[in-house]
Symmetry: C2
Subunit: 328 residues, 2 copies
Amino acid sequence: MNHGTNLLSPRIAIVGSGAIGGYFGACLANAGEDVHFLMRSDLEIVKRNGLSVRRMHAPSFTLSDVKCYASSAEIGPCDLVIVAFKSTDNETLARVLPPLLKENTVILTLQNGLGNVEFLQERFGEERVMGGLVFMGINRVAPGRIENYNPNGGTVTIGEPFARTTPRVAQVCELMKGAKIINRVAEDFQQALWRKLVWNVPFNGLSVVANATTDMVLDTPQLATLAHGLMKEVQAGAQALGYEITDEFVESQVAYTRPLGAYKPSSMLDYQAGRPVEIESIWGEPLRRGTAAGVSMPCLGTVYALIKSLVARRLAGNPVHDLNRGFF
Amino acid sequence: MNHGTNLLSPRIAIVGSGAIGGYFGACLANAGEDVHFLMRSDLEIVKRNGLSVRRMHAPSFTLSDVKCYASSAEIGPCDLVIVAFKSTDNETLARVLPPLLKENTVILTLQNGLGNVEFLQERFGEERVMGGLVFMGINRVAPGRIENYNPNGGTVTIGEPFARTTPRVAQVCELMKGAKIINRVAEDFQQALWRKLVWNVPFNGLSVVANATTDMVLDTPQLATLAHGLMKEVQAGAQALGYEITDEFVESQVAYTRPLGAYKPSSMLDYQAGRPVEIESIWGEPLRRGTAAGVSMPCLGTVYALIKSLVARRLAGNPVHDLNRGFF
């Protein structure tokens, strides 16, 4: 692999400046890194008011003079491109990324679920792509205002998508550390992806189909039971594919989630706002891969079908035929 | 069994004058039977405007001079009491029914799902209770206005709850026939109950959790697949309990449902109106009985958990914690 990029003092682009992109970019810029944000809706407000981060594990701050841009052509080539687009916007990346790339540019995707790494590798080259898994509890509460609800700051887990770890993984981790973003090295990134799905599948799923924040899932016995059943199906799928997920890890999800309080997973915010939801990467692809490996995933299949139908309806303006339809 | 009641020219009480009760009572009264309606919200409007029934398989009509009452004491003892309360109101029946009963009064319950017959038998005596299963597609579109969307009129299936058929079953069927209500005798009523659940579990269930009318369930591939999976679980539960439900019956549900058009199952109307939903009789009790018989019902379990949680939230005013909760 070609790992000759400058990741010690890199020029960084943040592509997708929602909750995750905004948080990572702001923390890196606040630590003195050279960060350039590609922004859409928040551009003018952030130019005017800056970017504020509230967090519990380290000082909160507001960043003024944010380097933000409306197009990637204005940013130009970078050493590190952090992709925090929704996976539903992946097709847009094919247009947005090229101006940011030079030889050796590293693309770090922080996207949820399965299939994103493969998408980027196919289009921009296998060697460029690194994976990062964000396990925090971050919301963008208003344009340019980001809050991290995790009392301990949460973690990002960085790794080579399909290989053992490399020196550039350590370099990116060092960057994160400087920005007070707690990080881990994923010795097996695919396993880490499945571990994250143990959380995303139930909590993002029930946030849409049961309209429940994470605390509600934990506090409603039948939802807590259902969440646990979904976790066990993800665990079984992962195990059938050769990724180890221990029972202890599954059981630890409740203790991890409790301190997040009334957290709204990203899928809930997307659904409520009428935006696309990351249906395929979080539920569809795990269901297909697990089922192909011979695992029965009926609860996941049920939640997937419901989300797919609910989201399609929402995007279409949520029409339910009216009862009094002039039948007679 | 004591079957000495007068069911040839009976004094009839309708308890619960919603869609089903209103339809049966109106059709019986229109055919010249002596029908007394216990009404709550619709009482004044029906007294003033009468009760109108629109149907496709027989002439529509409006009944004026409806005998309707605010209390069962005003009605007094009857030969036949038709119970069309929601099963969620069963506790109220303990108070409402006694003034309607004399020796030999027959109670015919038209309620959905499992557990209703047992409830009535425990409180009012085993021999009084008969079961009826309504398979039509009826909505109460406004106070005193009832529509039957089934082009063929639909059917009611009448039987002894836990025994082979008896002469009084034939008598009640004769009454229904006179009222142009197409009827069948259930040789095995428990089996008929489970057959009805093959429809109610998916279509009532998805009407709430997927916010989908019956045509939407049929026309959305993932919902149609999920509905079919739910039917197969109900079939497996029934079979484990000794009730035969053929594959042909399961597959016939689509053909039965298609002509109903954009039908809203009762659970959808109840949920949307913020009323209780028949959760336990339609999903909870079948799940418990099937599971106790050793059948795995993961899709039914998922739908049950979601409905229970959604309905509880709706009844509590649907509070979802607000995102901006002054966390910092």
